[in-house]
Symmetry: C5
Subunit: 97 residues, 5 copies
């Protein structure tokens, strides 16, 4: 699971028939600055389109899974490779000094 900020969404004009009931969010994975607690998300090469059924919105911090596990909760033929599995409450760090 990686953490990321929801920064927008995508609408589709034609699509794989097996998608339904969810939304496609634009998610910006966290970088070093985010993990250090002080920075805003920026659109970058690493921005992903993540399938969401939990109701995350712009401003949410989400935990998303990638790869074939992302599709675990779906019927066999749905091609989903990034899935919003959790909305994050708090992140605790204890970097050694």
């Amino acid at each position: 699971m990686r953490l990321g900020n929801v920064i927008g969404h995508v609408t589709l004009s034609r699509q794989e028939a097996s998608y339904r009931g969810g939304r496609f969010l634009l998610v910006q994975p966290w970088n070093a600055a985010n993990y250090s607690g002080d920075d805003k998300p920026q659109a970058s090469e690493s921005t992903l389109v993540v399938y969401d059924q939990l109701g995350a919105g712009v401003g949410s911090i989400v935990g998303f899974t990638e790869g074939s596990e992302a599709a675990k909760p779906f019927p066999e033929s749905t091609p989903v490779d990034a899935y919003c599995a959790a909305i994050v409450d708090k992140v605790f760090h204890q970097l050694p000094k």
Copy 2:
């Protein structure tokens, strides 16, 4: 799912017997400039060959899935690792200020 621009296609002289009925598109994944709304695609190291059955063409913005989920809609023995799952209508951003 990642977003990308279709920039061409590929023809094959010999191939895995299980490929049929689709086309292989050259897709350039979006970078930071594309996500900021102002830039044209450029061929780069990250260019991929994506299997398409939706009818995307040069100029389309597509959403493609990667990894084993890409092959979800295919019979068990088809080796497809990048699949055009959607043609994008609109992308909405709301980067925080």
Copy 3:
């Protein structure tokens, strides 16, 4: 499997129903300095959220698996893509001179 230092954890406000009985650790994968034996972990872009059932804590060195094998020990529908598979005792190096 990759090695990493546990540097914190995450709590969730909403989540995939199939997660339970484990904790989500923040893990910093080892870099070149760590493999050379002399450095402390630093939060970076590569920090991951890893599912743990072995009881690792801040300060542990863990071996984590990624991708669909990470989910091997779980029921079919659990989306886990990084899994704490081992707590490391010792790392032996013999770089050729």
Copy 4:
């Protein structure tokens, strides 16, 4: 699928029992210069060992699949993660101006 140039091959002294009937090719994935049509392959960090049953040789441009789909055409217990799925005839580009 990614495109690459065949630049050599590998022989093995001990191996997984399930490999047979194929060859292991050294393949250099295409970079930006290759996609722009003007450059020779160079051995780099990204060079891969790809399993081939189509008969590609040094000088061929191949399309190879990666990840678990690479192993789709094989029996369940064969660990293949890069598979030569096609020999490329022509690559067509139309980068927008």
Copy 5:
């Protein structure tokens, strides 16, 4: 499959119950210099822990598979994501001039 040099091993204090009968090797994937035939391995960010049953040791050049195919030869619940599939005899290059 990627090539790499065995540079050490790892011992574990607590682990996933399904691991047994193998050893965990530290493997340094080949970089451009290695593929050009002239360089020693160096510990780096890309060092991996690879499961071995073939008997590779420090100094061996191994071919390892990654991702879910790495786990193909194992029972369904073993989380292995990098597997030593072959010990390499010779590597033949023919870079075009």
